[in-house]
Point group: C2
Amino acid sequence: MSLLVVGSVALDSVETPFGKVEDAVGGSAMYFSASASYYTDVRLVAVVGQDFPQEPVTFLEGRGVDLSGLHRTDGETFRWKGKYGFDLNEAITLDTQLNVFGDFDPVLSEEYRQSDVVFLANIDPTLQLKVLEQVENPRFVAMDTMNLWINTKRDELEKVMSKVDMVVINETEARMFADESNVVVAAQKIRELGPQFVVIKRGEYGALLFTPEDVFFAPAYPLEEVFDPTGAGDTFAGGLMGYLARNEKFGHHEMRLATIVGCVMASFDVEKFSYEALVDLDRDKIFNRFEKFRKLTSFGELSLIDD
Amino acid sequence: MSLLVVGSVALDSVETPFGKVEDAVGGSAMYFSASASYYTDVRLVAVVGQDFPQEPVTFLEGRGVDLSGLHRTDGETFRWKGKYGFDLNEAITLDTQLNVFGDFDPVLSEEYRQSDVVFLANIDPTLQLKVLEQVENPRFVAMDTMNLWINTKRDELEKVMSKVDMVVINETEARMFADESNVVVAAQKIRELGPQFVVIKRGEYGALLFTPEDVFFAPAYPLEEVFDPTGAGDTFAGGLMGYLARNEKFGHHEMRLATIVGCVMASFDVEKFSYEALVDLDRDKIFNRFEKFRKLTSFGELSLIDD
């Protein structure tokens, strides 16, 4: 199935305890597309400025991503500057320059309007809604969001949430949105707005998938070298949505698998700066990491013989 | 196998967002014994003052815990006062009164010296060492510790670590001890001091078990009502060590199961204040929760058909 993503393509300046990069290629739609491209056909909607380099464009084209929705306009590309502290779990935003993203008003092509699966990455909920309204008959829609929109565009955000099948959100932001410390209750409150599925992203602690039936606890792979967590959440969402679109099923069984696929892809992403780790994956590398994930949480039968 | 635990039996005053209790019965050895008593014969070494109530003593006796090592001396019982904030993940210590614990100098009976499995709960490493030296030929020894001893008794702590098979430690304290943000590297640094196994406790995120072969990611059960996390770590250790002692095996396979049993017991503990939730468990309740844990992390086979 075709998978449409709308989000940012950006230039990130990132500092981690292990190094720093200036104007590295990033953005939610960039990471998402690179990740999802290993599973299905991706259509990207985003905007960049004249300063955006050609290399990532060539890379995505090479991976079969449809870039007819990537607009290049006068002005500078969206820039994010952030740093990670000792525990790498939370980014501190040092600077955000919207630039060409400030006037972004996406109009979908006829082909894009027929997309089956849609991911509304973390952008202004007004834009998310605008894109969603143009898609004619989507089979499955998911969205992400962040503290900024929770604080400034609550009503629009709730409106988008009411129209999607799945919300993918960071744990801190889920708690903030629901004004509730307990993550199970927070997820429940989000589900009450409409979405059947809620995925809570927990960084190095993995992810929780809440469905109408139960909860799934997906681990993160304990890596000896986490180099740069930037984009891990979007890479996760790309794997998850890519897997769903590929298999054309949206039931309980597939959701669990798709969540693990998301964790697998995120575990690659954090090993290198920018989208570097997503450049040369293949079926073998993905299967191998997937099997490591299975081993990570498997255990035998309880033996309480003489009880 | 017989399981010896040395630790604190205390009176805790705890405040959570859901309520508060004054002088509730607690302490590492209390939670540990109550939990482990569902699996094996426990021998307790601790000290309380004349003010310690009879009810918990009667409870532990009823559960078959050997209390001949529970000394009652003149003075007041060890007291801890703490509170938990919004996310319940970290306790803030408001007050600690060592009282009778300040002069505790445990001498083991002949029977206690023959114990097979030993848990050195979180107390002064000098005391941990003193107890361990009295046990003649233990099959398996584990220990816990905390920031206080990391900061004030580093040398003694490293000496105890070099003599045990397993270190069970909170994530924050593992990072502090190893002066290392990456939890995989931190665990590795602890393993280099001697212990084959390191278990990192992560509160609501579960636990990581590091063995000479690999890593095991144990989930925590996502509960809608976490009432009071006090004692969860010791209840976890009680389940883990109790299961190992019961099955008399200390290999890779049993370690994973024992870690899940620990998580199962901790998931009960947090549902009520003090040790209340550990009073009336049984085989059925434990098995049911264990199967919920299995379901929590299980997923199917990857399907990448046309790749």
